[in-house]
C-alpha cells in the first residue's frame, strides 16, 4: 500500500480539517509542554468521534504506522512528542462531559475534557474531582490517565489512579476494551491501575469514568514562612507525625516565592527562605481543631510567621501563586527545565542541600517548588536556551538531581512521567529484569510496539550505552533527536 492511499483512507475516516498533512501546518504540534524536544510527525489526525479513533488505529496497525496520542499537549516529559513517520492522534476534540451522576458521585467524560472543567461542571451539585495538577486549567483527562497525574491535593485524595473507576478505549488493533466502570473494583489483576501512567503505550482512551467527591464544608489555607529551608522540611514531617493529613502541603523556596509573587501578588514574603502552604479541609470544627494543632507544630518548628486565609478569595490567592509557579519562573529566566523527582520526606533537607551545591557547580540557578506532603520535588533549573550549551548543562544538572533522588530512596518521576525526557534516568532506577518485564507487559497490550514508541521505558541497549545511571556533565543523552 502506498502512502497516498493510506492518506486517503485516513481522510475518509476523519472530519473536515481533521487530517493535517502540510509540514507548515503540522509544525505547532512538534512539541508538547516540554519544548526541549521536538519532532515532526508524518500527519496529524484530529478526530471528533470515537469511531474515527478506532478507524485511525486500524489503518495504522495494518500499515505498521506508529501512533502517538496527544491531548492538550501540556505534558512536561515529552510523552506526547510525535515520532517521525508516525501519526499524531490528537484527541482535543473529544471534549464532552457525557454526564455527572450526583447519586453515584461519578462523571463520565471524553479524554479531551480539561481537568478543571470537570470540577467546574460538578460544582453545581456540590462535588469536585480531586486530582489537580498545576496545569489543571488546560491539561486533559486522557493525558491525566496516561501520566497518572498528581497535583497539590494528592496527599489526602490520591493520584489519578485513585480517582478513576473505569476507562474505555481501543487497543492498537482497533479492538475496543473496557476496564472497570461504575463498580469500585475490577476482576483479576488490576489492569485499570496498569493503564494509569502507561504513557499512551497500552490503550488509546476514549472515555473515562471519574470518581467525584463532595466539596468539603470548610477549608482553610495556611502559609508559614521560614528563615531556614530545613526547618520548613522538618515542619512537614512534624505535621504528619501529629496525625494530621492536610489536603495539601506545598513548599516553595526563595526564588520560586519571588517569581510567583511578582506574577500574582499572592502576598508571599519575599524575604523568607521557604514557605509552606498547608490546606486543611473537612467539617468546620475539625478544620478549626486541626488549625490550632498545625499552628502549634509550625511555630515549634521555628516558623517566622503563619498567615491563615479563611475567605475563598484569600485562599485562591495563596494557591494561585503556587499553581502558576512554573510558568511564573519563565518571567525571571528565559527558560526553565522542570524536574520531578520523589524522595522520602526525611530526605528533603539533604536533597535540597545537594541541589544547592549542584546549582553552584553548574552555575545555573534553581527554583524549588515541592509537593512537600508526598515528597515530590519540582526543581526548576533556569537557563537560557539561546546560549549555546546551556540546555545541555541544564539537562546534566537535572540528571544529577534525579540520581540524588534515587540515591535517597526515591524515584525519577512522581507525576510528570518518563516520556522521552527521563529514559536515561530510568536506567538508574531499574535493572534488566524490571525493564524486560515492562517490555513484556507492554507487548501484552501492543505486541508490535506501535503506540507511542520510544517513550516511558528505555531499551536495554540504551541503558548499556548510558552505562547505568550516571550521565556525566556534558554528555548528550538524546543524540537521535533534533534539539528544538
Amino acid at each position: 500500500m502506498t502512502t497516498p492511499l493510506v492518506l486517503e483512507m485516513l481522510r475518509a475516516n476523519l472530519p473536515a480539517e481533521g487530517l493535517i498533512t502540510d509540514p507548515k501546518a503540522i509544525k505547532p504540534f512538534e512539541s508538547d509542554g516540554l519544548t526541549a524536544f521536538s519532532a515532526m510527525p508524518w500527519v496529524v489526525c484530529l478526530p471528533d468521534r470515537e469511531s474515527q479513533v478506532a478507524a485511525v488505529l486500524r489503518i495504522c496497525r495494518e500499515h505498521s504506522i506508529p501512533v502517538v496520542t496527544r491531548g492538550a499537549g501540556t505534558g512536561l516529559s515529552g510523552g506526547a512528542l510525535p515520532v517521525a513517520k508516525g501519526v499524531l492522534l490528537v484527541l482535543s476534540r473529544l471534549n464532552k462531559i457525557k454526564r455527572i451522576d450526583a447519586q453515584q458521585l461519578t462523571a463520565v467524560v471524553e479524554p479531551g475534557v480539561r481537568n478543571l472543567a470537570v470540577s467546574e461542571a460538578a460544582a453545581s451539585v456540590g462535588l469536585f474531582y480531586a486530582p489537580d495538577p498545576s496545569s489543571q486549567i488546560a491539561c486533559s483527562i486522557g493525558g491525566n490517565v496516561a501520566e497518572n497525574a498528581g497535583g497539590v491535593h494528592c496527599l489526602k485524595y490520591g493520584l489519578t489512579v485513585h480517582n478513576v473507576l473505569g476507562v474505555r478505549g481501543y487497543l492498537m488493533t482497533g479492538e475496543p476494551v473496557a476496564i472497570g466502570g461504575e463498580a469500585f473494583d475490577v476482576p483479576g489483576a488490576d489492569l485499570l491501575a496498569v493503564v494509569h501512567g502507561s504513557e499512551g503505550q497500552m490503550v488509546v482512551i476514549t472515555e473515562v469514568t471519574l470518581r467525584l467527591r463532595q466539596i468539603p464544608r470548610s477549608k482553610l489555607v495556611m502559609m508559614a514562612a521560614f528563615a531556614v529551608v530545613s526547618n520548613a522540611a522538618d515542619a512537614v514531617a512534624d505535621v504528619i507525625s501529629a496525625g494530621i493529613i492536610p489536603a495539601g502541603m506545598e513548599m516553595m523556596d526563595k526564588l520560586a516565592i519571588s517569581a510567583a509573587e511578582d506574577f500574582v501578588g499572592a502576598g508571599y514574603p519575599k524575604d523568607a527562605d521557604a514557605i509552606l502552604l498547608i490546606e486543611l479541609d473537612g467539617d468546620v470544627d475539625e478544620v478549626q481543631a486541626n488549625r490550632t494543632a498545625v499552628e502549634r507544630v509550625l511555630f515549634a518548628a521555628s516558623a517566622d510567621s503563619v498567615v491563615v486565609a479563611e475567605s475563598e478569595t484569600e485562599q485562591a490567592r495563596l494557591w494561585l501563586g503556587r499553581k502558576a509557579a512554573f510558568p511564573a519562573v519563565g518571567r525571571i529566566a528565559p527558560d526553565y527545565y522542570c524536574m520531578d523527582g520523589t524522595i522520602p520526606r526525611k530526605a528533603v533537607a539533604g536533597v535540597l542541600q545537594r541541589i544547592g551545591e549542584l546549582s553552584q557547580r553548574y552555575g545555573l540557578q534553581v527554583a524549588n517548588v515541592f509537593h512537600a506532603g508526598d515528597g515530590n520535588l519540582h526543581p526548576l533549573i533556569l537557563y537560557d536556551a539561546n546560549v549555546d550549551g546551556e540546555l545541555d548543562k541544564a539537562e546534566a544538572f537535572g540528571n544529577d538531581i534525579l540520581a540524588a533522588c534515587v540515591e535517597a530512596g526515591g524515584s525519577v518521576t512522581g507525576e510528570h512521567g518518563v516520556g522521552i525526557e527521563k529514559l536515561d534516568a530510568m536506567c538508574g532506577q531499574f535493572g534488566r529484569i524490571e525493564l524486560e518485564q515492562f517490555a513484556r507487559l507492554r507487548a501484552a497490550f501492543d505486541p508490535d510496539g506501535l503506540l507511542n514508541p520510544g517513550k516511558a521505558i528505555p531499551t536495554l541497549t540504551r541503558c548499556s550505552e548510558v552505562g547505568g545511571m550516571h550521565v556525566h556533565a556534558g554528555e548528550l543523552p538524546f543524540r537521535h533527536l533534533p534539539r528544538f
Binding site: 496525625g243 481543631a289 515530590n376
Partner: protein
C-alpha cells in the same frame, strides 16, 4: 523473621526447569472459600518480617509471608494503621495473600482499598527472576504500575516477596449508627449519605437494617453522627464482616446454592434477595443456584463465587478483557509455572495466597 527470597527464587527456577506447576501458598486462611490450586506448594509463609517502618513517612515495608495481624499490631504502637481496611477469614492471613486476593474491607468506597495503598512490591516472576517495582514514596510514575497490578491477581503475575504499603493515622474516634430501612429505600439512602457525609468509613445493609460507620477527628465524627438519623450501634457488625464471620456470609449459604460476591455500580437496584450489601451498595452478597447474570451487566459489574465447587470463578469478564488478562499473565509467567486455580472456568484467576 527470615529472608527466604533466595530459596523461593530457586524453587521457581527449579519448577520451571522441570515444567512443574507451583501453587503459591501463604497462611492458607482462604483455603476454605477459595482452595489453593493443584500443583507443588510454594510456601511463602516463612518469608516474613517487617523490613522498614518509619511512622512519619507513612509507609511500611513488609515481607509477604508476614501475618496481617502482626503488621497491624506494630502500626498500632505508633497510633497508625494500614491506610485501608484489610479483610480476612476466620484464620489470620498474610500480607501477600491480602494483596493477591485484593482483600479490601468496608471502608473501600471511602478510604480506598489495598491497591490504593500499595506503593511498591518485590516479586519473583515465572522465569524465576526477582524484580522490584514501585517504591516507598507516595508518588511514583517511573515504569508501569506492576505493583498495583498484583492486587487481585491471585499470584498469576508472580510470587509476592515484599510490599510497601501506605499507612494512616488511626482516627481519634469511631461511631456506629443503625436504622431499620426497607430494601427499596436502601440505594437512595446510601447515595444520599455518601454525597454529604465526609467521615463515612462504612455503609452496609443486612437483615433490614442500614449500618453506618463514621470515623475521624472527634469534632468531625460528632458533627456527622448528629446529622445521620438512626440509633447508636456497636462495632460488632463491622468486625463480623471484616472477618467474614457475619452469619449471612457463611459458605455454603444456609439457604442453599453458592455464595456469590457481586461487585456493581452502587446505585444498581437491589432485588431484595441480597444477604448483605456492603461498600455503600457497591458489593452485594447473594446465595444463588446458578451464576448471576443481570447484576453484572452494568458497566464494570462482575461477580465471584466464594466457597463451594465454583470457588474463585469469575463472571462478568468480557472476552477482550479476559484475553488481555491472559496475555498479561503470560507476560509475567510465559511458561505457566504458577498454577491456575482449578475452579476458574477461564483459567485466569489463580491460586489464592493467604
Amino acid at each position: 523473621m527470615s529472608d527466604d527470597s533466595a530459596q523461593l527464587v530457586d524453587a521457581v527456577r527449579y519448577a520451571r526447569a522441570r515444567q512443574q506447576t507451583l501453587a503459591i501458598a501463604g497462611l492458607g486462611s482462604r483455603a476454605a472459600v477459595a482452595p489453593i490450586a493443584d500443583g507443588a506448594v510454594l510456601n511463602v509463609a516463612e518469608h516474613r518480617g517487617i523490613l522498614r517502618y518509619q511512622p512519619e513517612e507513612l509507609v511500611v515495608t513488609v515481607r509477604a509471608g508476614t501475618p496481617v495481624r502482626e503488621v497491624i499490631a506494630e502500626l498500632a504502637r505508633h497510633r497508625q494503621m494500614l491506610a485501608f481496611e484489610p479483610t480476612s477469614f476466620a484464620r489470620d492471613g498474610s500480607i501477600g495473600g491480602m494483596i493477591a486476593a485484593d482483600a479490601s474491607g468496608a471502608s473501600r468506597p471511602f478510604a480506598g482499598g489495598v491497591r490504593d495503598a500499595l506503593l511498591g512490591v518485590e516479586i519473583i516472576n515465572g522465569l524465576g527472576e526477582q524484580g522490584r517495582f514501585g517504591g516507598e514514596v507516595m508518588k511514583n510514575v517511573a515504569g508501569y504500575d506492576v505493583a498495583r497490578l498484583q492486587c487481585g491477581a491471585r499470584g498469576s503475575c508472580g510470587v509476592l516477596l515484599s510490599a510497601s504499603l501506605r499507612v494512616a493515622p488511626i482516627p481519634d474516634c469511631e461511631r456506629y449508627i443503625r436504622r431499620a430501612l426497607a430494601v427499596d429505600e436502601v440505594c437512595a439512602a446510601m447515595s444520599e449519605l455518601r454525597s454529604r457525609e465526609p467521615s463515612l468509613t462504612g455503609l452496609a445493609y443486612a437483615d433490614g437494617v442500614l449500618q453506618v460507620r463514621v470515623a475521624g477527628s472527634e469534632p468531625a465524627v460528632k458533627a456527622a453522627s448528629a446529622r445521620i438519623p438512626g440509633d447508636g450501634g456497636d462495632s460488632e457488625f463491622w468486625r463480623q464482616i471484616s472477618r467474614h464471620a457475619h452469619p449471612n456470609l457463611s459458605s455454603p449459604p444456609a439457604s442453599g446454592g453458592t455464595l456469590w460476591r457481586v461487585s456493581s455500580a452502587p446505585n444498581a437496584p437491589l432485588t431484595g434477595d441480597e444477604l448483605l450489601v456492603d461498600w455503600a451498595g457497591g458489593v452485594r452478597w447473594l446465595a444463588l443456584d446458578s451464576p448471576p447474570r443481570q447484576a453484572t451487566s452494568a458497566p464494570g459489574g462482575w461477580a465471584m463465587a466464594v466457597g463451594g465447587n465454583r470457588a474463585g470463578s469469575i463472571r462478568g469478564l468480557d472476552q477482550a478483557t479476559s484475553d488481555l488478562l491472559s496475555r498479561v499473565r503470560l507476560a509475567f509467567d510465559p511458561d505457566s509455572v504458577f498454577a491456575a486455580s482449578s475452579n476458574d472456568a477461564r483459567g485466569e484467576a489463580k491460586a489464592v495466597q493467604g
